[in-house]
């Protein structure tokens, strides 16, 4: 089940690599949030506990509802155009993503021979981290950068489940809260940027140099 969900997660990365609509990025964030929440809920099918449900519930709340809604609100408020404004051609971006994912899967497979780990969630998580960085590098719109950062964060979350790191719930909740506040602050900053600098693309940020 974990592997199936990880593959679905990986497919969402391909979708995000070909789409040129900003809203599709938000939809992918929502889908990834659902996948990660379901992944967290699987253990409860066998061993239910009220206390343990807090984390998956918070995950759903933050990653499926709060953050995507907030980003949508920013998009509407700022009247951000639908296109993502890439800096490289989509037909160059997709092969780059595919090649990276293939390399990550192959390397993960080799590494799994030395250390016990779940290859598919591990490689999917790492792919999301790399693609998140690609999105930040090859897109002009700052709101898309925020989405790239969140895809990277989702990748880390999946990666965490693959290496079976058991962080205490308080700390997991702390990390979720931190991510939410980061996105919240970025939203506020974007609002200011659009009104002060009259634009929300990375090209508008060029004042600070030596």
């Amino acid at each position: 089940m974990g592997n199936v969900l990880s593959i679905l997660f990986c497919l969402s990365l391909f979708y995000v690599s070909v789409t040129s609509r900003v809203k599709a990025y938000v939809a992918v964030l929502r889908i990834q949030g659902v996948i990660l929440s379901v992944l967290m809920l699987i253990p409860f099918l066998y061993n239910f506990s009220i206390f343990g449900i807090i984390l998956p519930a918070t995950l759903i709340l933050v990653k499926v509802f709060l953050i995507p809604r907030y980003i949508n609100k920013v998009i509407i408020d700022l009247d951000i155009k639908r296109r993502i404004e890439p800096t490289i051609q989509q037909m160059t971006f997709l092969p780059l993503v595919i090649a990276s994912v293939i390399v990550i899967f192959l390397v993960s497979n080799i590494l799994s021979q030395y250390t016990e780990m779940d290859v598919i969630p591990f490689a999917s998580g790492f792919s999301a981290i790399v693609i998140g960085i690609y999105i930040i590098m090859f897109r002009k719109k700052l709101i898309v950068h925020v989405c790239g950062f969140l895809i990277l964060e989702n990748g880390i979350f999946l990666f965490g489940t693959a290496v079976a790191s058991e962080l205490p719930m308080m700390i997991e909740l702390g990390t979720l809260l931190d991510v939410f506040v980061v996105v919240f602050l970025m939203g506020i900053a974007l609002n200011r940027i659009s009104s002060t600098l009259e634009g929300f693309e990375v090209t508008h940020l060029g004042r600070l140099k030596d």
């Binding site: 964060e153 290496v163 002060t196």
Partner: protein, 484 residues
């Protein structure tokens, strides 16, 4: 729990109080009281008079109490001058920023104390990220375009960097697979005691991710750009706070993983990475000092240089390690003086461009002299502390297995000194032909008193060289498994 209450809970309550109470003076008094309690208790803990009992995920060792005292010290002076700083006239839009100033400062103190006292990687991460969140809105204090851009870049770059550090923490978990640490919590001490059993490949990967990720916050090249923009555009007290304490919080994370890696076969690898990062930082400071034309950016590059020097000392080990820890104290104090005096100049001239600043010694004689003295302090001129710590670092490098590095370091530092000196002396002495010198005599402000006190402190610590500091530093070296 008393210690925990003072170090973390009280600043949080202070933040909430500042949210409720709108009067800036009351906010200041409450924040100052909290800062006094914080520094008082930090000092008692450092002197070994009080042994704080902390809850799970937090503990105090030689390293954390050392860094905690540096934080308390910097924070106290910054809060002390904040009220007089906030009284200075700013544009109407920036008035809004004052409302949240003390709230965010208190939140910063709580999160930074939590990061320094944490003994768990997860807790450290959460707290370190919270420090970014508290500082980012403060960078945007002036509400101008540059501050906005700096805030965005800092928030974005550091958040991505911290996310990288989180990957490093997860890889550390992976390195513990098949050992007795598997499935256990990420407590520093558990990992340090069982470091030899960790998988070296994953441990190296973990180190790289944590080092690169936290470099965005420390300001180690080539990840320093966000930090430079933020430090140079933030209001002076915040820049002082960032240079004096926030960079060290991130450095603490690197030191923790370095402590784990030290007894393992991956140590040489980690050492090379740190030394390369440190030298690169010195090189970046060396290059940019030639072209920098904004004096606050110049000070930010000076931070890159000094954090590079501290990292170099840590990487080289031995006597250089001791020098690096002393350097952390002295640099934090000197940076507060530099940024505060630079803030005075900025307030008077309304510009950060070196070309627009002339005759500071005539127009602002008190600030000018203090700025000059703090420049001498940061450049390692005796009797200021940095001279002694740099000598220790140099000696450590000279007697290490890589003595040739000293030549590079001296070369870079010499040119940084010359270029900084050129800029500062131009600002202080250059006369403007068009200037009509009808200047009001400069008032002796609290910031000047604080700057004098800090310069005295910088000298007294160095000259008196208190035994307690030395003993604590030796304990840190012992914790790192070094035999001197």
């Amino acid at each position: 729990m008393f210690g925990f209450a003072i170090f973390i809970i009280l600043p949080l309550i202070g933040a909430f109080f500042c949210y409720l109470i709108k009067d800036l003076r009351i906010q200041f008094i409450a924040s100052l009281l909290i800062a006094v309690l914080h520094i008082g208790l930090s000092l008692l803990v450092f002197l070994g008079i009080y042994h704080a009992q902390l809850p799970t995920f937090f503990s105090i060792d030689s390293l954390s109490k050392f860094f905690l005292l540096i934080l308390s010290n910097v924070y106290f002076w910054v809060v002390l001058i904040s009220f007089s700083y906030l009284k200075r006239p700013v544009i109407a839009k920036a008035e809004e920023g004052k409302k949240f100033y003390f709230l965010l400062l208190n939140f910063y103190l709580a999160s930074n104390s939590a990061a320094m006292l944490s003994d768990h990687f997860g807790m450290y991460w959460v707290a370190a990220e919270a420090t970014t969140l508290s500082v980012a809105p403060l960078i945007y204090f002036y509400r101008n375009e540059e501050a906005l851009e700096a805030m965005w870049k800092y928030l974005f770059l550091v958040s991505v960097g911290i996310a990288f550090a989180f990957i490093g923490i997860l890889l550390l978990t992976l390195s513990a697979k098949g050992t007795m640490l598997e499935g256990k919590q990420l407590f520093f001490w558990e990992f340090i005691h069982n470091a030899a059993k960790l998988n070296p490949i994953w441990l190296k990967a973990s180190f790289i991710f944590i080092f690169v990720g936290l470099s965005t916050k420390i300001g180690i090249a080539p990840m320093h750009s966000g930090d430079i923009d933020a430090t140079s555009n933030a209001p002076s007290p915040i820049a002082a706070l960032m240079s004096g304490s926030l960079r060290l919080t991130a450095l603490l994370g690197v030191m923790r993983i370095f402590q784990i890696i030290r007894p393992t076969s991956s140590y040489e690898f980690a050492k090379i990475i740190i030394v390369v990062g440190a030298l690169l930082s010195l090189f970046v400071a060396f290059v940019f000092m030639f072209k920098v034309n904004n004096y606050k950016r110049m000070l930010a590059y000076s931070s890159v240089e000094h954090l590079g020097l501290i990292s170099l000392g840590l990487g080289i080990g031995g006597l250089a390690f001791i020098g690096a820890l002393y350097h952390a104290i002295y640099n934090s104090i000197a940076k507060v003086v530099l940024f505060l005096t630079a803030g005075n100049i900025h307030s008077a001239y309304k510009s950060r461009e070196v070309g627009k600043i002339t005759s500071v010694l005539t127009r602002l004689p008190k600030t000018g002299w203090l700025f000059l003295l703090s420049f001498l302090a940061i450049s390692g001129i005796p009797p200021f502390g940095i001279f002694f710590s740099e000598i220790k670092i140099f000696e450590g490098i000279l007697f290490s297995d890589k003595p040739y590095l000293l030549a590079f370091v001296m070369f870079f530092l010499l040119f940084v000194f010359i270029n900084m000196g050129k800029i500062i002396l131009t600002m202080l002495y250059k006369k403007n032909d068009d200037e009509t010198l009808q200047v009001e005599p400069e008032r002796f402000e609290l910031i000047n008193v604080v700057a004098i006190l800090l310069l005295i402190l910088l000298t007294v610590i160095a000259v008196a060289s208190p035994e307690i500091i030395y003993r604590n530093i030796i304990n840190i070296t012992k914790d790192f498994g070094m035999n001197l």
